[in-house]
Homo-oligomer: 280 residues x 2
């Protein structure tokens, strides 16, 4: 049996769900629906219900470890990812952790992500250079998304600085699709809030996976994001929405509300993809 391969798994999931949508799982305990608030298993049940209601609409799930860590809910995160692998084996799990450390410490973080949490891919911060990234790539078949141009307002503080004639984020993109990518399992995080930078990154890196947060609550525009992020049909593009889907409804039917929001977002993305193709 071949090793699991994150890049192939992602393409399969995209085809099966006809979807570029990633649902980000950022469970804020202050925003749990009243029907779950106060229950000791509320956080897990919230996430599980969202996952089960949206799994056929997504190409990946992206749990954000910070929300679990702040709540002492590591066991719930393990259980959630186990649940995804067991019930929705087609759907890859990207653990959003944004770690990055010296090699011996990155080995421990890679154990955390891939052995403890059984993630298929993980987000990593590139500031410390390639030896901080390498330990993750030693796990066969697993993917790594390096932060490139992030979606937050302060992203430009460093990422848009002109470095030896190009922006820092462009340098990261060139390294990630060049000498850092012998494994072929690197991708990049580029925010939907910066469509010009997204188009620039796509032009630099070719079809490599771009994980694009920032549509939904952060205000990124789907149409512009698709135009910028998809230059050819086979480009790997993952559009993440977290809060706009998780908190689409606060009633007892919160999971169905999330499903409706996810379906609407997937369809909106697909319409933008179709228009993108027509214009080519």
């Amino acid at each position: 049996m071949p090793e699991p391969d994150f890049i192939a798994g992602l393409a399969n999931a995209r085809r099966a769900a006809d979807s570029l949508l990633v649902v980000g799982i950022d469970p804020d305990p202050a925003r749990l629906p009243p029907v779950l608030a106060g229950r000791t298993d509320g956080l897990f049940e919230f996430c599980r219900a969202i996952v089960d209601a949206t799994a056929d609409l997504v190409c990946a799930f992206k749990p954000q470890i910070a929300y679990f860590a702040a709540e002492r809910a590591e066991a719930e995160l393990e259980a959630l990812i186990d649940h995804i692998h067991a019930r929705h084996p087609r759907v890859p799990v990207i653990l959003d952790a944004k770690r990055g450390d010296i090699g011996s410490t990155s080995q421990q973080y890679a154990r955390e992500a891939f052995e403890r949490y059984r993630a298929d891919a993980v987000t990593v911060n590139p500031y410390m250079g390639f030896d901080a990234v390498e330990p993750y790539l030693e796990y066969p078949g697993r993917g790594v998304f390096l932060l490139c141009r992030t979606s937050n307002p302060g992203a430009a503080d460093l990422q848009n600085l002109a470095c030896d004639g190009e922006a820092l984020y462009e340098r990261v993109a060139r390294l990630a699709c060049g000498k850092w990518n012998a494994s072929g399992r690197l991708g990049l995080v580029v925010g939907a809030t910066a469509p010009d930078e997204l188009a620039r990154v796509r032009a630099l890196v070719g079809p490599m996976p771009l994980l694009v947060p920032g549509i939904g609550a952060q205000g990124g525009d789907v149409e512009r994001t698709v135009r910028a992020g998809l230059s050819r049909p086979d480009d790997a593009l993952l559009l993440n929405s977290s809060r706009a889907i998780l908190y689409a409804g606060a009633g007892e039917d919160f999971a169905q509300a999330a499903r409706r929001a996810a379906a609407a977002t997937r369809d909106q993305i697909n319409r933008a993809v179709a228009r993108r193709s027509e214009n080519d």
Copy 2:
């Protein structure tokens, strides 16, 4: 009663122990002394014994969260930091986590570091810009060490790029001692393996705390590090050693071996400080 203040606490601890030494707590389960290996409380007891044997010799402890997370040992990390606060209340705890994320997620990481783990300070990655750092600084009195020029071989991949006429790490240093530091509670991480860069950072930032990993197992030279990192007697300088102290002995007297290694390192640092002063 005044709020706890990390900068003042650090200065007090330095004076009380006559020490610039930080002991980094990176408990590798494969390297536990045989007397503890296999015990369910082995990881905690190893760390507790090292802490109790060295607390009067250090100006801070720096637990590395990755080693605990890889072992599902979050409860042990909480217990260890509680133990330090209870038994060694003079000694600040710097949680080495190197997180960094968009503001709403950084709020969760700040809760993790300061509410769950009760750390006095935390290390943070600056790549995402100031709004990724700000949530930590909203906790009164707590400190933040931003990665600036790290100690690993790949550090120069991005950090030494020339950005608008200065190296990226210099830009981070100038931001950290300038407009990012309204709180007065920022410090920087600068590796002992790059003494020229350390001297340059000290020249840029004045007396701000510099946390310097890389002496000991990583090979940084104490004499050169002190010359580079201490330009005036009041400069806040913290020299971290982890593995060379934790694993100084493998016998039943491992904690006493760690104490001897810590004392020798502290004294070596102090001799270098004395020579530095004589030469001024």
